[in-house]
Structures are given as C-alpha cells and as structure tokens.
Symmetry: C2
Subunit: 458 residues, 2 copies
C-alpha cells in the first residue's frame, strides 16, 4: 500500500503526554470537587438517536450535528427518484438515524427519563465527556471538545444554586485562578419586560441588553427600536441602564423598579436568598449581580450563572442556570433542575497563559536505569520491580544504546534521576544515582536509593 | 413538541453511578500500573480521516467502520446519475470522509508518524478511550466499548515483552483476579510451516492450529487438507500436536523439531529470553507457552500474548504482541513496537461474576444532613463547608421533605451516616449523628463529629 501523509480531521486534536497531564489536572480537580459535594458520575454513549438530538438546539444546532451514515445498504428502500430529487437535508434524514452527542445536557435529560425508576431523586450527577459540533473551527473553537457538567435534578430549593456557586469557587481556587461569578435570574429579565409593557418581547429585550457592555446604550436602544419596541417603552427602560453600586444597592434599586411585577419580585427574592446563604459560608470569588446577563435565555427559567477570569480577557469559562422542564420533552414534565458546565478548553488556555499549571501536573518517569548490556539488565530487573512496588515511576532504557543517547533521552523526557549500573556497581551490589538537575552522583545500596528517591520525589 | 419515548442506539450503553465507579476501578488500576512502568498518556480524536482507517482492518473491518456524513450539502458535485447508479459502498465513499476510531492501534501509529519530531523515542504510551464498531451486538459485544492500550515503540529489545508480562501480572493482581498469560511467537509458527514444507501456507496452518482446543486434532487436519496441504506435510505436523510438559520441556521438544528452521530457532530463543528475564523477577500469574496461539497473525511479527481468567470461562481478557512495521503504512518504516490491550468490558464481567469489586470502588456520599427547614439549613451550611474542606463527601438534602422520605433517600443512596439538626441541636450548638448501619445515634460537637467521620470513613 502506498504510504500516506497522516493527518486528522479539521477542528480535532491529538493530545500529547504533556497536554494530557495538564488536561487531567483540570478534570481531576473538577471531579474531586464534584464528588465532595455528593455528585455521582454517569456516562452516556457518544452516539444518540437523532430523534433525541434534533430540535433541541435550534435550527442552527440541528445543522451542526455530526450524523452517522446508516450501516450496510443504507439506500435500501429509497427509490432512485427520491434520491435524485431529495434536498441534502431530506436525504440525510433517510440515510442517517444516529448523531454524535452535541452537549451533555440533552443526553442527561434523556438518561433521567429512561432510567427514572432506578434513580434516587433528588439526583446529583456529574459527567465529563467529549461533545462534537460541526462548527467552523477557529482559535479556541474545536469540533471535538470536553464538557464537565454537574446538575442537580428533582429539587427546586435555592440551596442548590448556592452549592453550585460554592463548587465554582472551590474548583477555581484549587486551579489557582481568580474569577468573578456573575449571577442573574430569568425572572428579573421577565419582570423588566413586564414593567416596560413589552412582556412578549422578552427575548428581543434580553438579547439586546446582553450586548450593553459591548455596544453601549445607544446601540442597544437602536436595536430595540428596530425590533418594534415603542419609544415610550424604551424610556421606561432607562433606569435599568443606570443601576449601580454593590449587589445590595442594585437589588434595592431593582426592587423599587420592579415593584409592579410579581415575577420580577420573585426573581429578586431568589437572588437575595442565594446571597443570604453565601453570607453563612462565604466564597473567595467575587459574586456580582449582573442584570444584563442573559445566556441561553430560552432554556433557563430561574438562576443564570456565568464565570469570567479576573486575570485574562477571554469569554465565559463556566456557566449554567436553572431549567424547570428539561425532561418534559421526553415525557417526564415538572422536574426542576439546575446545573453548571466548566469549559475545560478555555480554562486550559487561561492556565497556560498565566503559567499556573503546577509542575506536579506532569507525570514524568522519576528514575531511568541506563542500559549497559545483558548482565546489568538482569541485575537491574529485580530492583526495578521493587522500586515500582514502592510506588516509584521507574523504567529501564530498553536497548544497549550509546550512553550519550540514553542520557539525552532522560534529559528530553524530563526524568529527574538516572541510575548507572556497570561492572563495579554489580560486584559491589550497589547503584550509582545521578541527580540530573544538580549533576551530583552517589554510590548507594538499594535501601538508601529507595529512601533518597522517596524523600526527593514526595 | 410531542413527547418521545427515550432510547439509545442498539449496542450502546448508559453507565449509572454504580457502574461508573466499578469501571473506574478497572481504568484507575490499569492507569496506575501503566504509569509506574513509565508509560505516558495520549489521546486521539474520536473521528479519523477514512484514509487513515480504511484497509487497516481487512475487508470485514472496513464494513464495520462507522462513517460520518459530510456536513452541509454533501451531494454537491455528485451528479444525479452517479448517485443513482452508485453502489452503497461507492456512494458512501463520496459522501463520507471521516469515520469513528475502530481501535487504538492504528490511530497510535498515525500519531507516531505525525508527531515523530516531537516524540522522544523509545516511546511508551498508554491510551484509554472508547472505540466503535458496527458489529452485530450480542452478549458481551458492544458497538461502543473501551480499550486500554499500552505500547512501546522504537525498541526491539525483548525486555519490553518481559515488562508487558509484568504489567499484566500487576494489573490482574491489583484487580484480585487469577490469570494465565499464554505466550507464543510468530517465528515459531513460521518455523513450523517451514519444517513441514508449506512456508506459503502459514496463515492457513496457524488459523487451523489455533482451533485445536476447540475442535480437536481430527478436524484441524481435515481443515488443513481442504486448504491444499499435502498428506505428507500433515504427517510432519504430528509432533506439534503432542508436545507437552512445562515450558522448558516444550521448548526442548520444539528445539529439536524446528532445528532446520532459522526463523523457528529465533522464535525459540526469543521465548527463552523472556522466560530468563521472568526468572530474575518472577510474576504470580501463570506463564505458559502455547504454540497454538495465533491471534491476529498477520499483524504480529514476534511475541504473541494472550491472557485468560483461571476462574471464569470467558474469552481472552487481555492480548497483544510485537509488530515490526506498524508505522510503515504511514511513511515511517522500520520502527518496531510491542503492545497489549486490556478488555475492560470482559474484565468487568469477570469481576462482577466473582463479586470481586471492592466496596471502596463505590463512591457514595458519606454524610447526609437531614433538612428540617431554613433555620437549620443556615446552621448547617458552614459546617458542610468545613466537612468538605476536610475531604468528607457530604451533602444536605435540599428540600424540607418528610423525615421518612429523607431517610429513605439516604438508605437507597447507600449513605453510611446521617446528621440531624433540629431546634435542640441548634441551641446546644451540636449535631446528632446517626450510623445508618447500626442505628446508633450520638449528640456531638463539630470537632468530635469530624474526628468520628474521619476514623470511620478512612
């Protein structure tokens, strides 16, 4: 067979050992915190039936699904003229019945309904798996990427929202990143729409307000006018743009502004309750009410949460909120849930840029035995076994290569210690240990070797 | 939208928290051992270009690839008549250019060639990821399953084969399973074909011999005759069927039988060398020479390794071998590698059948606070935070539900301790701790609570 120049599909990535160790640092940290908060792991298949996925992510989302060609004679039962005249979309629906997971939320909703009789509600689940989107790849946007989700389903208590903020705070503290958690509530947004007399335009209003920081008040108003919102309504919106101060002060201003909206007042009460809980057990992250935060509005029904780095200019690195009826679409209505999702790829970029990955995240081999030939190998093997049993990550250079080549290997692999075993060492039943950083060498017995390695490597 | 009865594609599985914990026990054990032996993790994308995958798994394998429909207008540039007259296979090749990973070995070969300039050879890599095959699902065979592979590439030293046997031994010891490692060498099989004068028929001969245990000598000979092997050659094969004794005895018999074949003698020498290494640092698993072991013959060029459970009748639970030119197909010839793959799903079945999963594999919440209402919640939250900081997996029942419902939740979730905080506890600044197994209750201060939990849960 002709040799091929190897490559991988656009928008996908290989992960090298160094990248893997760093990614695992993020995943392990997140997983450890999820577990401490009582969340339990599940996994769902990479492929779901298209009936599960279609219609859940909007028209644009449907287009971004990766579809799997049916196996075998996928054209069977489809007439020639049907094939000929079908649009790509229509033909695709005939020759594909499965697609790759697009996020972890819809598969979770499907899981909850399918396994409702085995699940012990309220159910705290976490899930860390890749998802796939046929998006146009660009810097920081991939066609395969991981999501790290934690959701609590089957309880509408606000203490859940508090716990998610605690989790966010603990994960980012352990990752060594300073963040601000921005919070809002869909009911506040609904209240604003009510108060200005444009209840039905809630989507247009929040989409526009969400852009305030980026485009300024003038442009926001222009957009709202173009959406058919009256000048009178717009005038009533003005106080929203000038609310300021700390969370308490903003809430006070909101309270008088939204006084006539029951929904709006409910939203304020929910935010107040979260802040009350946070007073009993404070977090180190900043928590800021941001009434322009909209994020996936049609999905969330209560709390809306978004996390940004205080140190690096980058989009949201974690987000979530409450959804009151996610499982309804699969035949199980009235189950409230609230969840968050950590964006591992962006967190990776932030940690890399700030050089915050701890050295311990890299899991190098700790000791390399240089290979001076068969006699030495047989002397080394039992020692190697004992070192590994003692938990030392150790290896033997497998070939009797030139000394220089073996030392270069150790250097380039970042291995901190090298053991040399030649004729002298064998006859003395000892080992020469070389510290690759300092260059120091010591002739040692096995027990001393183990003691030194343990103290140096712990 | 109409409600849907949720389901997942045939041959795929959801994993519940209990199943996840057990699977993680297998993955974590394997990963820990791989690391100790100096193997480093990589990951490759779920989808590979079809040009990478096609032709690597035989005709049958090509058919079992899951293909991904090209995005957007996938029919663009394909004439109607082309669509009409194309066979499904021909059309598939026009409308798909990517497929799901079928194993971890070919993507690894592709990775090595693509990243040759960044890799520090000899390269020990491990990879634990799912693979997908459009096989007919049946008991124990799935369309999505995990492989756990460790390969050493860039060294042809036999000490690598020894190390793989050590890894196998250590993984199964830590999993608590008794196994036998069967070993063979492709060169011995080649030698046998040479000695009986049917060098070109090596594939037919080994495929037939591989069935010896299952179908017996008579049927094996019938099959060989039907493949055009002469009666004279068959007669020369007889000694192979009657070789017996321990490894040394079998090797002695093989040595005189294969004396005329240089390749065969080389195979014997390689097996002897592995056994010699094993004498310097013995394993607890059985290691048995089995000259009928063929396993993926066209792939392996030296050692062939297969592991079976001593306790449960099930197929191979781990296997591997040496391949001398895996990367040649991607333009990098002459790189020898050797590797093994653990079958996580079968290992899971064996552990389940033998009830060997340790209780510690399940990661329940350790303490549940019963929720008696808002006042108690605010008293509990700071304690909950301290317990979690101390590493206790703790949670608060989020809703003020009936006591019985909350206790049932704790029971069904397997939570060992429940904390009760009512008016009395709050005014005394204490907590009532209930041991769910014994039913014992104690009124305690926070420090004592923490001490007791730590001692009980460690």
């Amino acid at each position: 067979m002709a040799s091929q120049k190897p490559s991988i599909p656009k928008g996908t990535r290989d992960f090298s050992p160094v990248e893997m160790s760093r990614r695992n640092f993020i995943f392990e940290t997140t997983r450890r915190v999820f577990k401490k908060y009582g969340f339990l792991p599940i996994e769902t298949p990479a492929m779901e039936n298209l009936s599960t996925l279609l219609g859940k992510y909007g028209e644009e989302g449907d287009k971004l699904l990766f579809r799997i060609l049916n196996s075998g004679d996928f054209l069977r039962g489809i007439g020639n003229s049907e094939v000929e005249h079908a649009s790509p979309a229509a033909l695709a629906s005939k020759i594909t019945s499965r697609g790759l997971r697009y996020d972890l939320t819809v598969p979770f909703a499907r899981y909850v309904v399918q396994h409702r009789n085995e699940i012990n509600f309220p159910f705290r689940r976490y899930q860390i798996q890749p998802v796939w989107r046929a998006d146009n790849p660009q810097k920081g946007r991939y066609r395969e990427f991981y999501q790290c989700d934690a959701d609590m389903i089957g309880s509408d208590a606000l203490v859940n929202e508090f716990e998610l903020v605690k989790i966010i705070d603990e994960v980012f503290s352990e990752l060594g990143l300073k963040v601000t958690v921005r919070i809002n509530n869909r009911k506040i947004l609904a209240g604003i729409s009510e108060v200005i007399g444009e209840k039905e335009k809630i989507v247009d209003i929040t989409v526009a307000i969400d852009k305030l920081e980026k485009i300024g008040i003038g442009k926001v108003k222009e957009e709202l006018l173009s959406k058919g919102i009256s000048q009178a309504s717009l005038d009533k919106l003005d106080p929203v743009f000038v609310m300021h101060g700390d969370n308490e002060q903003k809430l006070d201003q909101l309270e008088s502004y939204l006084a006539s909206s029951q929904t709006g007042m409910q939203g304020i009460a929910e935010i107040r309750k979260m802040l009350e809980y946070l007073q009993t057990d404070p977090v180190s992250a900043g928590v800021a009410l941001d009434i322009t935060l909209a994020r996936g509005l049609n999905y969330y029904t209560g709390a809306i949460i978004e996390v940004k780095s205080d140190e690096v200019q980058i989009g949201s690195i974690c987000g979530g909120g409450r959804y009151d009826d996610l499982t309804g679409i699969f035949g199980m209505p009235g189950i409230s849930g609230v969840g968050i999702s950590f964006g591992a790829d962006r967190i990776y970029d932030v940690l890399l840029q700030l050089e915050r990955f701890p050295a311990s995240a890299e899991e190098h081999t700790q000791l390399l035995f240089v290979n001076f030939g068969e006699e030495a190998v047989k002397y080394i093997l039992p020692m190697l076994g004992k070192l590994r049993s003692a938990g030392v990550r150790a290896e033997l250079y497998p070939d009797q290569a030139r000394m220089k080549k073996q030392m270069t290997f150790a250097n380039q692999s970042g291995i901190p210690f090298v053991a040399l075993v030649g004729e002298n060492e064998i006859s003395a039943q000892q080992v020469t240990l070389k510290n690759m950083e300092t260059g120091d060498q010591q002739l040692l017995g096995f027990d001393t070797l183990l003691t030194i390695l343990r103290s140096q490597l712990s």
